[in-house]
């Protein structure tokens, strides 16, 4: 009886927005009919549920978080969400790596706020910290915005691993270069133009190189990349400052610097 119930059980999911442009959620909505079908096959949990202590015993199967927490209220939401969720999954570059707002981490903090706002009193201006600084993250959908196709591909695997207690899926450790090759896009490096693609996790169909823009790394470093060598090579094509500037756009700079410090074996 109980197993039959679990078999037909719809996953209880919550989609939560922290500070972000909401482009990742929009990428899902943009699936149109596919998204409506998806939404009909899950139980979408109302956010009010989080604040309602009476429901605390009821778990959320999968919580999806977009953006990074920038206020005390958002931090609290995130902690509550983690407590109630079996899996906490982040959506996109802001949640995973800090996104464009993280550029302010590399600046004099007060200056950035002072420029944007006249009254900075009461405006929290702490450095941007990604979701995994506050809670454990079980899976990351990378990208700015996420690839909705990738979401639809991995969602059933995540649900399955939760139901059957299997290992969580992993996005294959392939670089963006693999996808450029598949799509027949001429390598930027061959023309002496810089591109971050070789150290970045593929899965985006090389959408930027296809449209004429070098990979700027929104999907983050791939685990197997020899970051030290690749960035050394790139710095022959661009100045240290240019390299840093590109790496700052999607919050990649701190990750690269951490890898550069590690001595090769």
């Amino acid at each position: 009886m109980e197993s039959a119930e679990t078999k037909t059980k719809k996953p209880r999911i919550a989609i939560v927005n922290l500070a972000s442009c909401e482009g990742c959620q929009l990428a899902l909505l943009d699936l149109g009919e596919k998204f409506i079908n998806f939404a009909n096959n899950v139980e979408l949990v109302d956010l009010k549920f989080l604040e309602d202590e009476k429901n605390s015993r009821e778990k959320i199967d999968m919580a999806f978080v977009e953006g990074s927490p920038m206020s005390e209220a958002e931090k609290k939401t995130l902690l509550q969400l983690r407590e109630k969720s079996k899996l906490l999954i982040v959506l996109g570059n802001c949640a995973a790596m800090g996104g464009v707002p993280e550029i302010s981490n590399y600046r004099e903090q007060k200056q950035t706020a002072k420029h944007t706002y006249r009254y900075i009193h009461g405006i929290k201006n702490e450095p941007i910290q990604e979701v995994d600084n506050f809670v454990k993250v079980d899976f990351t959908f990378p990208g700015c915005p996420i690839s909705a196709e990738e979401f639809m591909e991995y969602f059933p695997m995540l649900w399955e691993s939760l139901e059957d207690g299997q290992d969580l899926p992993k996005i294959p450790d392939k670089s963006v270069c693999v996808e450029c090759k598949e799509k027949g896009i001429r390598c930027y490096l061959l023309d002496g133009k810089p591109c971050f693609g070789s150290m970045i996790l593929g899965g985006c169909s090389a959408v930027c190189p296809s449209a004429g823009l070098m990979c700027q790394g929104c999907r983050g470093l791939r685990p197997g990349a020899n970051v030290k060598n690749i960035s050394k090579g790139l710095k022959n094509m661009m100045t240290e400052e240019e390299f840093e500037n590109v790496a700052e756009i999607y919050g990649l700079r701190d990750d690269i610097e951490a890898k550069e410090k590690i001595m090769p074996l």
């Binding site: 206020s71 600046r107 944007t116 009193h121």
Partner: protein, 421 residues
Amino acid sequence: MNNININHIRRIEGHTGFLASVINGDVKSAKMAMRGRGRLIEGVLIGRHYQDMPVIAERICGICSVAHNIASIKAVEDAMQIKVSEETGKLRKAMMCGHFINSHAMHLFFITLSDLLDIENDLKLAEEYSEETAMALKIREYGMEIIKTIGGRAIHPIANEVGGFKKVPSEEEIKNLIMQGEELLPMALKLSEFLKKIKMPDFSRPTEYICLEKKGEYLACDGDVVSNKGLHVHADNLKNKFHEFQRPKEILKRTEGDGKSSYMVGAIARINNQSDKLSMCARKYLESLNFKLPDYNPFHNILYQMVEIIHCIETSVKLMKELAHADMQNALTKEFVFQEGSVNVAVESPRGTLYYWVDVDGQGFIKNVNIITPTAQFLTHMEDDVAAFVSGTAEKDKKQMEKKMRAFIRAYDPCVNCAAH
């Protein structure tokens, strides 16, 4: 004193709550309440190279990314005195049409319709009105397809840059868009007839409507800022007429006019000021609505968005037909020389006029930038309208009042991500 505190309004772009102090059904004050810090996008842009401007600026908002992409690029080009080809201009206009179609269809159908039809949520709406939902989805798809074909991606487009395009669509892709657009028009007209039958709340409050005016163009990317109250000024001189301000403790930014009064932008403002510039089918549909202009009912904004969807389908097809015979190589970015300079530009975006003021130095780095979004402009107006609307309904029940306020705010189409960037 009875306080209504709506913690979070679902189904609008961004996070916001709405506080209203209610005394015996009379709303004395209403204001948007935002939590958190802004993402400080303007501060982040300072010191960056001009090439990063659209990449970072468009990430202010997922749904409005095309408007920010186009406006930020135009601001840098004008400041640095870079001229672009006619083909580039047309591709950008077509992309903006795609943005209007996509954004308006999302708002009028998936954000407000369930309120107007008193349906619990969009999934139930899709079930009960499956045929109409399919049409609305098709319309959105076409809008996204234009952006994707020209910009390389539907959200946060890539190919458009300072000086032109990194990549241009092929002849075949342009022909496909023409075909899709022509097929879509009858469907959009059918959906527009359905919308016409929906009863809109009766509410009206005379106000000032502001939009861009340019000869022969309904949706302008430059030109003069005009209003139904006689305002007529070039975008570059606007600083003397309007100013952006921030209230202590708020992270939203607002604007106010000379007379310190609130004003409205967006579809309802454009229709009121320049409906004579609409394309043929759009004008016919507008006439069939039988609304007397000036029209001060903010709920009609939804129908005016439908008028603009029709206008943008027709306009995009027209632009594509012109581009099908043009040399698209002209739209590719060529080498250019640039100068330092600063400028204030304005473009019409779905929610209203979007202003970018930018100052670029001789090396091409951003010295200063200020972005005034449509929502920042109509926020105070919305609050004034909500107060008047809820008071006028003589609703005494707190829950009902809250429901009406939520629905009203959603009908207004605020984009809080844009307002608090």
